[in-house]
Structure formats: structure tokens, C-alpha cells
Symmetry: C2
């Protein structure tokens, strides 16, 4: 599937030489850690600690900075003129925030921290200047924007084509894979969102999310930690994908 050939000129370095197991799945792309190192060295960004509930920027605010998430978790909340709120994205270590502000000169969403973490503040102007002299920065930047576009489309597809249960399963799969890609443990994840937030993100009610999770647990696709239902055990991510497929299957053939 993924192939390095095109990347010959575009991604000059990163043949993933002797890379720690967690990182190098995709040699056309750098690992998250490697990219962060590059960005940290090249840009020397201002570092800012954030806590749960902090907003890095808000809709309507004048655009000026992009942000790179070094640790923690963010949600991106879109706001409509008539007051609707919609969680439209989740951000993990290595992700960029603030692209939506470039075109209009103002951010169009809120970026809200869901945990303690650290973001790197990068002036867009300074970044552009740095990109002129260091084209590999440009590649990193464009890759981040491209990934965001691709993922947004996948989200739309999920919402449009999957029934509620499958959407929740796919959400958990995505979360787990996002952690795994970044070398974090993915077999037990702490959801940093309420059922209401998850439901908002997935286009369903909190009750439907709760029922879907219960069903997933009953089918042993996920497990709940001993105490509390915020921690979800995911022994096998493949089982989540299989569950999604099962939801899509025409019918169990009525057999018996």
C-alpha cells in the first residue's frame, strides 16, 4: 500500500533507520517523535502548559499562531451562528491545531484541552519564513494539513454510512490506533470525553453511546476497568473493526 518511491525528493530523510518498534510503521512518513524533534529544533517554539478545559484559541479570535501538540489531548469544537456546537476533531500528540484560521484570518473553532499537556506555539509568519529556508518543514506542515483533510473525510464517512453501534466502535478503534501510532498503550484507554461529548462528535445522543458501549462490552469487544466506566479496555483492536463489519453485514441470514 504505502510506498516510498514518490517520497524520493519530497521526503528527503527518514528511511526510518533502526527505529523503536512503536514508531516506524510508515516510511513515507516520519514518526511522530522524529517530527516533533525536528520541529522543536528548527522552530524553537514557545512552550505552553495547558490544563483540562483550557482553550488554546477560540472561534472568532484573530489568527496568528499554529500550535503543535506535544502532549495531552484536545478537542476541536465548531460553532454555528445559531448556537449549535459540534465537536469536529480530536487531537493527539504531534497533531497541529489552528489550520482553520489561515484562510479567513480568524479561527473558526474552539480548541479545548481535555487533559494536562503541552503545546508549542508557532507564529505562522515565522513558520513561513522558516519554511523558505528549510523545505523539509514545508513538507511536515503540508503532511499535517493533508492528514487532517483525510481524517475529516473519514469522519464524515463514518457518520454518514455507519449505524450508531458501529460508529462508537469505529471511534474507539480510531482512538486506540491514534495512541498506538504514537507509541502509547492502546489496550486500555482513558476516554477524556463524556458520553455527551462522544455522542456530539458522532452525531448521536449520549444514551445511544451508552447503549453502544454496553453492547460492545456484552460482546466482549471491549471491557470496562474494575472501577468506573471512563477507562475502556481494548484487548484486540481488530475485534472493533470486525464489529463494525458485523454491523454492516446485510443480515445474519436468519439461520438458527
Amino acid at each position: 500500500m504505502l510506498d516510498t518511491a514518490t517520497a524520493s525528493k519530497i521526503a528527503p530523510s527518514s528511511p526510518c533507520p533502526g527505529m523503536p518498534a512503536a514508531a516506524g510503521h510508515d516510511c513515507g512518513n516520519r514518526s511522530t517523535a522524529e517530527t516533533l524533534r525536528l520541529l522543536g529544533e528548527q522552530l524553537r517554539p514557545q512552550r505552553r502548559v495547558v490544563h483540562m478545559g483550557d482553550t488554546i484559541y477560540q472561534a472568532g479570535e484573530r489568527f496568528g499562531n499554529l500550535y503543535i501538540l506535544n502532549s495531552g489531548f484536545f478537542k476541536i469544537v465548531n460553532l454555528s451562528a445559531d448556537g449549535r456546537e459540534q465537536v469536529v476533531g480530536l487531537k493527539f500528540r504531534g497533531d497541529w491545531l489552528g489550520f482553520d484560521g489561515i484562510a479567513g484570518g480568524r479561527y473558526s473553532c474552539d480548541a479545548v484541552s481535555m487533559d494536562t499537556g503541552e503545546v508549542w506555539v508557532v507564529s505562522y509568519e515565522a513558520l513561513l519564513a522558516a519554511c523558505i529556508t528549510r523545505p523539509e518543514l514545508l513538507q511536515v506542515l503540508h503532511a499535517a494539513m493533508s492528514r487532517e483533510i483525510s481524517h475529516d473525510r473519514d469522519s464524515l464517512m463514518s457518520v454518514c454510512t455507519l449505524p450508531a453501534d458501529a460508529r462508537v466502535a469505529d471511534f474507539l478503534r480510531y482512538w486506540a490506533e491514534s495512541l498506538a501510532e504514537r507509541g502509547m498503550r492502546a489496550d486500555e484507554i482513558t476516554l477524556r470525553m463524556t458520553r455527551a461529548e462522544i455522542g456530539n462528535y458522532l452525531g448521536m445522543t449520549l444514551e445511544s453511546v451508552s447503549r453502544a458501549l454496553s453492547r460492545l462490552a456484552r460482546d466482549n469487544v471491549i471491557g470496562f476497568a474494575t472501577k468506573g466506566r471512563r477507562d475502556v479496555q481494548i484487548p484486540d483492536v481488530g475485534a472493533l473493526s470486525a464489529f463494525v463489519q458485523r454491523c454492516l453485514a446485510p443480515a445474519p441470514a436468519m439461520l438458527q
Copy 2:
């Protein structure tokens, strides 16, 4: 929660109020025509005529070019591993196609022409090279990517928060405004998609689309051209927005 009825989201377009389409000083955004002129001059791109049904690129194909739509209409179709198809975007004059390929080295969608038109082919590598010497190109490129991200989020919000009728109304509003922004007539638009395609894009069935359109016509929010139902008359775009709001309103107060 919603701290303010902040007018963050109003006037998503119209960067330069009351301005003839071509003129464009710098409100942060250039006009479509001006941007195209700049790109045409700076990049001297290969021009390619396309016809209805042509695909400019397909999912899985090796990435190498970006495309700028000079005329015509495209749909972007996302494909899942299990065979689901999802229309995830519509492209108009001045829009770019192919951003999804940058990160992974392969396109992840099909780009399908819905009409006769012309696309400009730009080698990504050549574009990067040109951007180094001409930073205004970089700004144009990033603005295009940023706009795509913002619009994808708006799409997700529509699908997640609007009932079916409102989604169709909002879709028509978006189409009409997209045309108007580009200086094309927006009071009578030709839908270049079947009901099934519209439904796919909006996450509903073709029957629901049809019923929604009938309802909009009955309420005189839209009209159908004398012959055929592919052409939709939109005497007042504001009426479409009003219809959306009406759908969101709690209840008609039970009067009578």
C-alpha cells in the same frame, strides 16, 4: 457553555463586502478570479479538459500532482476498505484537488468530474519549488487547504446537527453561495448530482432528499424549472437559511 452569541460564524464568505468580483484588494482573501490569474501566470500549469464522469485521480493512485479547477464541477468520493462509497466534497471553480494525497503519498479518494470543465495540473514538487521563490503562492496554497479543512468541519456539523430537511436546504444554500462567490448566477442552479448522490453526501436516502425538495418547493423556498427537476430556482438564498432555522426551532408553539 455557549458563552456568547458571538458573531464568529457569520459571513463565512464575502471577504470584501460589496466588491466587484474581480477587483479584490487584500481583505485577507483574494477573489477566485484573481487567484486563478496569479496561479496561471506563476505556475504555467498544464491544462486538461475533462468531461462528465472523468476521474482526475483515483484512490490508491500514486500522488504527484495537485489540481486546480478552472471550470466545471467535481465530486470527491471517499472509499472504505469494505467497499462503502461516500461523497465527501464538492469542488467549484478555483478549488484545489488532491490535498489528501500529500501525507500518504497516494490519493485516498476519487475525484470525479460532474460536467465538462478544465483543470490545471500542477506538479507538487514544482509547486513547492515555486513557493520557495514566491511566498505569495504559499499563502494561496495554505488558504486553499485551510478553507477545505473549515468546510469539511462545517459538513460534519451539518450532518450531525441538522434534520434531513434542513440538511438539504443547507446543501442548496452552500451550492448557491459557492456559485455566487465565484460570480456565477445562483438564482437558478443545475444540480449535477442525482438524488442518490445528494443523499449519499448528506447521509440520507434518495427518498428523503426527494421529499425534502418537494417540501421546500411547497413552501416556496425553492422552485422547479418548467421542465425537469434537475434545475432548482432559488429566488432568495436567505429563505434557505431561514428554513434551516425553522427546522431547528423547538416547536411551532402548538398554536391553533
